[in-house]
Amino acid sequence: MGKLVIPGDLLLNKPVRNPYTYIKDEKTFAAVVGMFDEQQSKFMPIKASYLPSLRDSVIGMIEEEKPIGYGVNLFSPYHGLLSSKSLRTTFNVGDIILAEVFEISEVKDIWLSRPMKLVGGEIIDVSPTKISRVIGKHSSMLNVLKAGTGSNILVGKNGLIWIKGGDVPKAIDAIQKIVREAHTSGLTDRIMNYLNVTPEMLEKFQRAPQREFY
Amino acid sequence: MVMVIDELKKDAIRELIKNGKRDDERGFSDYREISIKTNVISAAEGSADVRIGKSRVIAGVKLEVVEPFLDRPTEGTLTVNADLLPTAHETFEEGPPSEESIELARVVDRGIRAAEAVDLKSLFIEEGKVWGVFVDIYTIDHDGNLLDTAALAAVAALQTMKVPEYKDGKIVRENLTPKPLITIPTQCTFAKIGKEIIIDPTYAEELVADARITYCVGDNMLYAIQKAGSGSFSKEEIISLLDKSFEQRKYLLSLLNKL
């Protein structure tokens, strides 16, 4: 499974690049508190701020109208920017959007594309390092969540999760459980149990065209 | 006059230091030229104008009659202040004291106070009245190591201080009695650049330094230490620099004993 490591703990005897570790004397050390699985060489930070990557989906709030377009609050150390050039719709300050990171400038301005306005629903905020767990391999976990709650769920790599329709409290509850148990294995099965999702239900859900109710 | 811009010298200095050399061809354990002039301000009861290389500090000592501290009713008081004047460097701004100036004043004060250099007990006048010694450090030109320049100026000014007479409730500044220090503390500042350590850094060397450490010592006695900067020191380095401070003391004392 793994053990809790703290900054300065040795992880590997060879150098590996990763923003949550550092290299010294050709060895890799933890830079943040996290769970380290030595056998599988996996490191999951407990908490860390979002670092953008190209093609990340993120959820944010329109914060400012600018000459170039819009400033977007991503609730992370860096801001998003939307260029109005290729936009088909206009936005208002306060609008919540889902967008994709299409360029990261040298000074970490996050240029966004393909914005989609999200109306209603509820937003929760988890550590960006737990997001991949909420999604699961090939969206396996996300599908379990959707199948078990009937909700529409959109996940931002910056840690924001948008939930609408279906049983929202149940979805939030299940996501909190995932976040708490993120460092463990067998989690997908446990969440399926938790939400009473059978393998058949899941298969049916995955094969069926995604019902979109907004 | 042609001046080379210090900020542009950073890489050159790093290279030099790595190769065991300094920009002004000094050794790693050499001070720049030091000059000390005392009694330069006649309105003050003690004063000194000290230069280390191109750094220059004027220290003035004024004595006033004050109330003693409650827990030391028969002792004089000592207050050390420092002003990093905008005069001294383009990066010194007007306004409330910067943390650098606060640190400088407190470090210089600490060394003198811990050494008990000033004979405070002899500054008692009468009940409720003692001499308050006010040392003000005016930095007027900054080319690095203001700490040692200021410490030397403060000590030199105090060493040549003269106490006025207090008679019939009035200060008579015409009648002065010399009051040399009972101990003379000496202070040394070192800068660490990469793995090398040099004494008495210039401004350009300070820009490149990862860390700095200052020792105030007496005869076989350590009075104060202040480490600054985001670099680190090993325990061995800390001890070895203390030894270097004792070595330098002989030289610095020889300058102060000439006053």
Binding site: M1, G2, L4, I6, P7, L11, L12, V16, R17, N18, P19, F29, A31, V32, V33, Q40, S41, M44, K47, L51, S53, S57, P77, Y78, T89, L98, V119, S127, I131, S132, R133, I135, K137, H138, S139, M141, N143, L154, V155, K157, K177, R180, E181, T184, Q210, E212 | E99, E103, N220, M221, L222, A224, I225, Q226, K227, A228, S230, F233, K235, L242
Partner: protein
């Protein structure tokens, strides 16, 4: 520092609180005590009570302080007006500003600033009750708060003080020893490298006494570090569930495969969002 011999600091070989010369006061540390701050820690050390909070990495205000290539580290140490026997004035003073500076410099040594350029990491250390050696207690707490906040660091530093009372070298100076002792040395050590990142001294000590004092400080590093590690471990236990393990590690990212930040590859994760994306405007 006074060396005032009117106040006895050692009675029958013991210090005023019954400790031996090489004994630390009791230390407790709790991590993640605040809701709003990114990371936090509450520490008691003898009668000292310290609250450390960390915000960041976050946008830098005022903007002109921004560093394009790394984080700017800022630190504020303050003693609350009610923290000492005499009422103190609120707000920073010369002493607290100097302490803030040396603390900040210690943290600048161990925080890996390149990970989040153009951001600020703000460290707030508040002494709620002060009883000797508050700056090293504050640093020890802030180190835990930084780890709790997920700020990338090389190491978790510890703070400790050593000094001289009645000609004997002692560790962990309490208030009376600070005030009436013969020398006081606050330090911070980065355990991984063994290097000193904060060091001040005030008083009268021979070279031999100083070397002995340094050694004594180093001897206490592990004991203090244990407390920090336990605090982080307890926080983890509280905020996660310890569940028995199996094989399925889907979602955990292999440290090997990444040459870039820990994220799943785009196809895997975006599949979830893609399906809902067919609308092109709000709904």
């Amino acid at each position: 520092m006074g060396g005032n011999s009117d106040v006895p600091l050692i009675v029958n070989g013991k210090r005023l609180d019954g400790r031996k010369m090489d004994e630390l006061r009791p230390i407790t540390i709790e991590a993640g005590v605040l809701n709003r701050a990114t990371g936090s820690a509450y520490l008691t050390w003898g009668k000292n009570k310290v609250l450390a909070a960390v915000y960041g990495p976050r946008e830098v205000f005022p903007k002109h302080e921004t560093n394009l290539y790394g984080s700017v580290v800022r630190c504020r140490y303050m003693m609350a007006p009610f923290s000492t026997e005499e009422h103190g004035r609120a707000g920073p003073n010369r002493r607290s500003r100097e302490i803030s500076k040396v603390m900040r410099e210690a943290f600048e040594n161990i925080i890996i600033k390149e990970v989040y350029p153009k951001t600020a990491i703000d460290i707030y250390v508040d002494i709620l009750e002060g009883q000797g050696s508050t700056r090293v207690a504050g640093l020890t707490a802030a180190a835990v708060a930084l780890a709790n906040a997920g700020i990338p660091m090389k190491d978790i530093p510890i703070g400790v003080s050593v000094g001289k009372i009645e000609n004997q070298i002692a560790v962990d100076m309490m208030k009376e020893e600070d005030n009436f002792g013969q020398a006081d040395i606050p330090l911070a050590i980065a355990p991984a490298s063994g290097e000193i990142i904060l060091l001040q001294m005030d008083g009268k000590m021979t070279r031999e006494e100083f070397v002995y004092a340094l050694d004594l400080a180093y001897a206490k590093v592990d004991e203090i570090r244990e407390k920090q590690i336990n605090a982080l471990r307890e926080f983890f236990k509280k905020s996660s569930a310890a569940v028995e393990n199996e094989q399925d590690n889907s979602g955990l990212n292999t440290i090997e495969q990444q040459s870039e930040p820990i994220q799943q590859s785009s196809e895997e994760s975006d599949a979830g969002n893609e399906a809902s994306r067919n609308e092109d405007s709000g709904y």
